[in-house]
């Protein structure tokens, strides 16, 4: 085995000797060997080493080994018959693979359903509203409320008098004189026939105070009120919104009208009293049910009208507060003490935050961990399996 340069590497020569070269390469090496004495000598060396290694032969396996393995085989066969060991029976894993597949499919389905069903319902409701939404007369004619969709829409439609919009607005103001600003706000609202629905004042008189209030003002007065409120102090934040409820309102009125008609017809039936007692009782029960529906819809209608008539105005007033100049210097001991207290609070906050996180997300992580643990472990083992063939 000489190390002189050759077109064939010695390792490649060895692979040829072991029969481990691809056919085309083996042909090249064979051709080279016919011409190269050194390589033939190297191959002879490989052969000599293998020949010497062949001298190391171990004794034959004891006969006991065959007997023992046969015993094991008998035992496995008998256990297989009893169902103890599935060695000679078709594979029967603890959890069949199709169960894993089914579980995975169910998880995926639930995930997709959780995302899509709310959207589906939303779109369906809106489409139903679009069908029922034609503007209806109060006297919708004969037919129960459930038959509205089947009625001649043209006969019950009426153009709306105007869009019904629930208006909302919010305004954040800053004032140097808190009390004066508060009085001004309340005066403006009252002057425009508004009223206060809720009012909260926070903070002491010697610190920066805040006022949070919700006012209800007539919708047509909202813009003048806002214009006047802006003069009270600098506006820090302002927003306005409007939700159109025309279709919802007309739909509700139509259903209410139909329900009233139904109630009238039932009352007429009751007056005639041509049926048997059970029939009369059934009619009375139906009247009670329809009446309940009428009252509920009536309340909804009034609430809707009220929301449209009165706009909701949220006002937040913040007092511009200037911290007085502190002449007395805080002592070092006090500062250190404060630092210790703050450190303690930070520690407590961090512990509480960690516990909150674990309580909030722990169950979810545990749930998904339990679901995914076995499939992932199964897949991991499958990935590692090819090395041993199982």
């Amino acid at each position: 085995m000489k190390s002189s340069p050759h077109p064939i590497e010695q390792e490649e020569l060895m692979a040829y000797f072991d029969g481990q070269l691809p056919r085309d390469r083996a042909t090249v090496v064979a051709a080279h060997l016919e011409q190269c004495e050194d390589c033939r000598a190297a191959t002879a060396d490989f052969h000599a080493v293998s020949k010497k290694l062949a001298k190391w032969q171990v004794e034959p396996a004891p006969a006991r080994l065959a007997e023992r393995v046969n015993t094991l085989l008998d035992k496995a066969a008998s256990e297989a018959k009893k169902g103890v060991l599935g060695t000679l029976t078709p594979p029967r894993p603890l959890v069949p693979r199709w169960v894993w597949g089914l579980a995975g499919a169910v998880v995926v389905f639930l995930f997709i359903a959780a995302i899509s069903i709310p959207n589906l319902l939303r779109s369906r409701i809106s489409s139903e509203r679009a069908v029922v939404s034609p503007y209806l007369l109060e006297s919708a004619g004969a037919g129960a409320s459930s038959q509205i969709r089947d009625q001649d829409v043209k006969s019950v439609m009426v153009p709306p008098t105007g869009p019904m919009i629930i208006r909302t607005a919010s305004l954040t103001l800053v004032a140097k004189d808190f009390d004066q600003a508060r009085t001004a706000i309340e005066t403006i609202v009252l002057r425009h026939q508004g009223h206060c629905a809720q009012l909260t004042v926070r903070g002491r008189a010697d610190t920066g105070r805040t006022l949070t209030a919700t006012f209800r003002v007539p919708a047509e007065q909202l813009d003048p009120v806002l214009a006047e409120l802006r003069t009270v102090g600098p506006v820090e934040e302002e927003s306005q919104g409007g939700e159109e409820v025309t279709q919802q309102y007309v739909d509700l009125r139509a259903r209410l009208s139909n329900a009233r008609n139904t109630e009238q017809r039932l009352i007429e039936i009751l007056r005639q009293r041509t049926g048997k007692v059970p029939d009369i009782l059934a009619v009375e029960q139906e009247i009670a049910r329809v009446r309940e529906g009428i009252e509920r819809m009536d309340a909804q209608l009034k609430n809707l009208e009220n929301q449209v008539r009165l706009a909701s105005l949220q006002v937040r007033l913040r007092e511009e507060y200037k911290l007085p100049l502190a002449l007395a210097q805080t002592s070092t001991v006090t500062r250190l003490r404060n630092a210790v207290v703050e450190g303690y609070h930070s520690l407590v906050e961090s512990v509480v935050g960690l516990v909150e996180f674990l309580l909030s997300y722990g169950p979810v992580l545990l749930f998904w961990g339990l679901i995914l643990y076995f499939p992932v472990r199964f897949a991991w083992r499958r990935l590692r399996a090819p090395r041993t063939g199982s």
Binding site: E11, M14, D18, V49, L73, P90, P91
Partner: protein, 173 residues
Amino acid sequence: MATDEQLMLEFQRGLREAFTELFQRYREPIYGFFRRRLDDAARAEELAQETFLAVLRGIVRYEPRAPFRTYLYGIAFKVLAAEWRKRSRQEVPLEAAGDPGDASDPDTALWVQHAVGRLEAEAREVLLLREYEQLSYAEIGELLCIPVNTVRSRLFRARMALKDLLAPQQGAL
């Protein structure tokens, strides 16, 4: 003649004779595998038995995705590793299999055994698998989780070292 993989599948379907045939084919090679790596013949026999028992128990999960020979030697390797862990040894105890002082004749098995025992562990394992278990380079690579080129270089290194170690003047030292 049925291949090893076919025999395994037949055994999986319940044909006992298939396993008997496999055992006949691999009884000596598996016993030799352990015997060349352990100094205790009785223990080698027990480990060979354990290997076949593992094949028996693992038949339900067997899939012919790799040659049966690789599968079988893979099990044997795991059994051997467990044995080494039990003995708290890291090296193959080939040196303990005989007294080197008695191995003065380069033509005896003891001489060869002693020379192989002096090889570095990684190269020695590749050499044993190639020379005695007759595994291909690819099978050895799969078994030891190393590339085929590494198998080739380690085997070449082992043979180069053995060429010197098996020379009479080296063995007499």
